[in-house]
Symmetry: C2
Subunit: 563 residues, 2 copies
């Protein structure tokens, strides 16, 4: 093995070729990169028993121009109808567009696209200009039984809008991307579903200038995909942001929606609370496009006060201590931290490298005090809200962490983490260029099942030789948290990879975790749903589906298909 050499692979540093497969599967900004740093590179070589030579020649990079001919199954008159509704420039039957807007960000898709293995693709890409056009489209498609898929930001990691049997794909981010109404009195903003994270947040931060507001505001929702996901997508998949422990999950952050479905339009009213029977808003939450299309949402906003933010970081002697302290914080009734994240020993090992803490004076003191590598656990956090409130959280957190044997690392690690927090997905392309897969699965757990799920999942991942498995918990509640598994394996074979993925999903399910804490269901997880929820709960979802969408045209082949 050639370790610690000065050799560095030639990570791709250019935008994918226009019209290439890579331009479709590459995450985020075409010119956005986060190459593995030297420490990670050395570790990968060591773990996978590779040498520098293995990083000379790349696997298929998918940088070839797409040159395919796939007939659209729609008739000319059908296509004409969509042109009539949305105008010519908003309709495309070009294969590149159809493949692009049928593709999400699963590892499976990336593996296949690199080798020009195509799945099904949509028959037509349509960019509706407003909700009236969407109404017409839904009505027409229902009559003609044409399936409809909705593309928001395209960041799905579970085949959330995968084309099952042709049909059309509506791209909402092209035109439905504006703020409809800002209401400072109610602290809400009504927004079109296709608005992307950064534009949404920027408008709220600039509420004073844009809306004559008294305060600046924030949406409070910052998932890792923030830059490349849409507000509608956050909501309908039940996403969680990296500050959800304070701000709430996306489902909690929405006060009202407008949904267009084959069985009619739903506009829910915006009461802070109401006791008028089961809430249709709640019934829609998490439906991932199988009931209808969310066209507008009313989002609860918070005051934007970054100047109040309190940062903190600690190292714990072990995972148990980190979990116990986190539980005590979550149940302490002094308010919740916004960023709130504990890493298990293996992730901590990486984090300390990544955040440049390894071999610093901090590291020396830690070791001196007995915080051992591959046992010690990192805690990162920050508190938002009113200044005194945030300061009190910090002071309580400090006390609790100390009680559980932690050492204070100050704000150093979280400030190292914060600027790069949307960048990790960029690693994926670099690694896969050399046949290494990095992927994630995650689950919601109650406190009393956390350790069982953690141990079983980790045991499963590690049962495959030479795997890296980094785990953290990063969304906290009084009743539990989530577990987020990042695994890195050397695998070029798609089927072998899928078998591994399926095994981990099965382990999550069997060990008592939820199938998904905030990644949604999509096509990928749907097969586990009947076992997970049980037939009587599945039947409720099926009854709702039948009601909203009797012809099964709305995002068919997802949540409810089962095995």
């Amino acid at each position: 093995m050639t370790n610690n050499s000065k050799f560095q692979p030639e990570w791709i540093n250019e935008a994918p070729k226009k019209g290439s497969y890579r331009s479709i599967f590459k995450y985020g900004d075409p010119l956005g990169f986060k190459h593995p740093n030297d420490m990670l590179f050395q570790e990968l070589k060591e773990k996978f028993k590779l040498t520098d030579e293995d990083f000379v020649e790349k696997e298929s990079t998918g940088n070839e121009i797409i040159d395919i001919k796939i007939e659209s199954k729609l008739s000319v008159s059908q296509i004409d109808k969509f042109v009539e509704i949305c105008s010519k420039e908003n309709v495309s039957s070009i294969e590149y567009d159809r493949l692009k807007y049928s593709s999400g960000k699963t590892v499976e898709e990336t593996m296949k696209l690199r080798r020009k293995e195509l799945g099904l693709i949509t028959d037509l890409v349509v960019h509706p200009r407003n909700k009236v056009e969407i109404s017409k489209i839904v009505k027409y498609c229902n009559e003609e039984k044409i399936p409809i898929y909705v593309y928001g930001g395209g960041s799905s990691v579970n085949f959330g809008f995968y084309t099952e049997k042709g049909g059309i794909t509506l791209v909402l981010s092209t035109h439905l991307n504006k703020i409809v109404k800002f209401n400072e009195l109610n602290q809400t903003v009504t927004v079109e579903a296709g608005m992307m994270g950064p534009a949404f947040e920027e408008a709220l931060n600039k509420a004073k200038e844009l809306y004559g507001a008294k305060y600046k505001f924030t949406c409070g929702h910052f998932p890792q995909s923030f830059e490349y996901s849409s507000v509608g997508g956050w909501f309908i998949t039940l996403g969680s942001g990296q500050q959800s422990s304070y701000y709430g999950d996306a489902g909690d952050l929405v006060l009202g929606v407008e949904m267009i479905s084959p069985s009619g339009d739903i506009i829910t009213k915006e009461y802070p609370a109401t006791a008028t029977g089961p809430k249709i808003l709640d019934i829609i939450k998490g439906s991932e496009g199988i009931f209808g299309i969310i066209v507008e949402l009313t989002w609860k906003v918070y005051r934007y006060k970054p100047e109040n933010r309190q940062y903190f970081g600690f190292i714990f002697p072990n995972w148990d201590a980190a979990v116990n302290a986190s539980r005590e914080i979550s149940q302490g009734e002094f308010g919740m931290p916004a960023v709130f994240r504990i890493s298990d020993p293996e992730e901590t090992h990486h984090g300390l490298k990544l955040y440049g803490i390894e071999n610093t004076i901090y590291d020396k003191i830690m070791k001196m005090r007995g915080f051992k590598p591959m046992e010690r656990c990192l805690f990162l956090g920050s508190a938002d809200g009113d200044k005194q409130f945030a300061k009190n959280i910090k002071s309580k957190v400090k006390k609790i962490c100390k009680k559980h044997g932690a050492m204070n690392l100050t704000s150093f690690p979280v400030k190292k983490w914060e600027p790069g927090r949307y960048k990790d997905p960029y690693l994926r392309e670099d690694l896969m260029d050399y046949g290494i897969v990095i992927d994630t699965l995650e689950t919601g757990v109650s406190w009393d099942s956390l350790h069982e799920v953690y141990q079983q999942c980790r045991a499963f991942v590690k049962s495959r030789p030479d795997t890296i498995c980094l785990t953290h918990a990063s969304h906290f509640y009084a009743q539990g948290t989530n577990l987020y598994f990042i695994f890195i394996i050397k695998e070029k074979d798609t089927q072998a990879y899928l078998k591994f993925q399926e095994g981990l999903l099965g382990t999550i399910q069997k060990s008592g975790g939820s199938l998904s804490h905030h990644h949604g269901v999509g096509r990928m997880i749907s097969k586990w749903m009947p076992e997970h929820l049980g037939e009587s709960q599945m039947n409720v979802l099926r009854a709702l589906k039948k009601h909203f969408d009797p012809n099964n045209i709305m995002n068919p082949g997802k949540q409810l298909i089962g095995r």
Copy 2:
């Protein structure tokens, strides 16, 4: 008029006669009373232009023994079946029992029962001993198409379990009233649906002794009916407690349920969060027995730390200032007060009398400083949770109230209010003994509709000559609050009263309020539902009803009947 005399009516001070109508409609403890104090008595006389003489002779008090014969529509073999399932002593076809368990606490029922006007009554009262028996009952009733009503605490103010067409009434509080599992790690308690408030709270307060817990706990849910309502009832009607601004509404406080329905049993899993499609738990919330019977609930508990409680009270120059300060508190992101209540000028006027503040040194200073009667508004509050957290809330509240022109009244008024907070319903019987009706309606409002709803509803109530209308807001959210109207009118005619009530409900609906913030729907409000939610939302509820209960045996004649 004879004001300020020493005369006091002979308020009834004895338990209702055993077997009497009064024993059915009287609220709460048979020996529980809260007679109008002299100030209220004087005011009633003044308002309704009455003299002491009008309080000499009572209206019909309903203290007559029930002597009715109403044939049960069930066949002997059907009754035998219920006896077979639940045993003889848990089944009753006696008219008194059937009337009792068909009666809630609406003013309409009370007015009618006083005059022996009977509505429909259930055919059989059944006290199931466990969920297995309930399963058998639901299965049998579904086969035989026998309607099932569920009686929890019986405190419904909207005909929530009124018998529409005979059938059986299950009383859950008789046997299903125990804690099934206490889980300190998860901070949850699993409880049978029929457990009543005080027993539930007491068990949690005594968690150390009873369950060997490290801490004491509280359920956090204290509606006015706390002593006479059940945990299952709180949840299924979407109730709110008097400390909901901090602890959350009942719907938020439940993590999992077990429901038995004609289409199968539902047991939801207890994840703190999950993104596996629309949540069946959410779909059940607020269904008020029309889908199935909640037999067990897992409730999120909080630490019980009364020693941390911070009390506060203020007087505002006017309603606008009180509302503005409340909004600033609710949006201030420093945590929420638990008790959080502002009274409008008319309620303040009463409150100051009731809490013994009128004519004290406080009152003199208030008047000196320009806080005028019938303009000034009272604010009562307390903060729970961690001590520093609660203290910070108090200090922020103080600052904001001061900024909005309020004067600090210290903890005096809230400590006067607290001990009597479950007692107000007892006033009703005394007043109605002399033909005076006291009743309430309430609504959820966004901040931007609050004033419109307030003004229109008050104008409607006041359009009837000689009415007292006390209004408060007592459940706060960043996006709005509730308005709670207490009205006192002189009215003996049931139909005239109902016309008035209907007029106010219509005004709530038209002015932009929710039909109910936390009283639920029941039969009373159902007629407004289609107009309120719109047909497409009603159709979703109807589809769910059809799925869960295709034979319409579960609490028929409620939420979905419309006009």
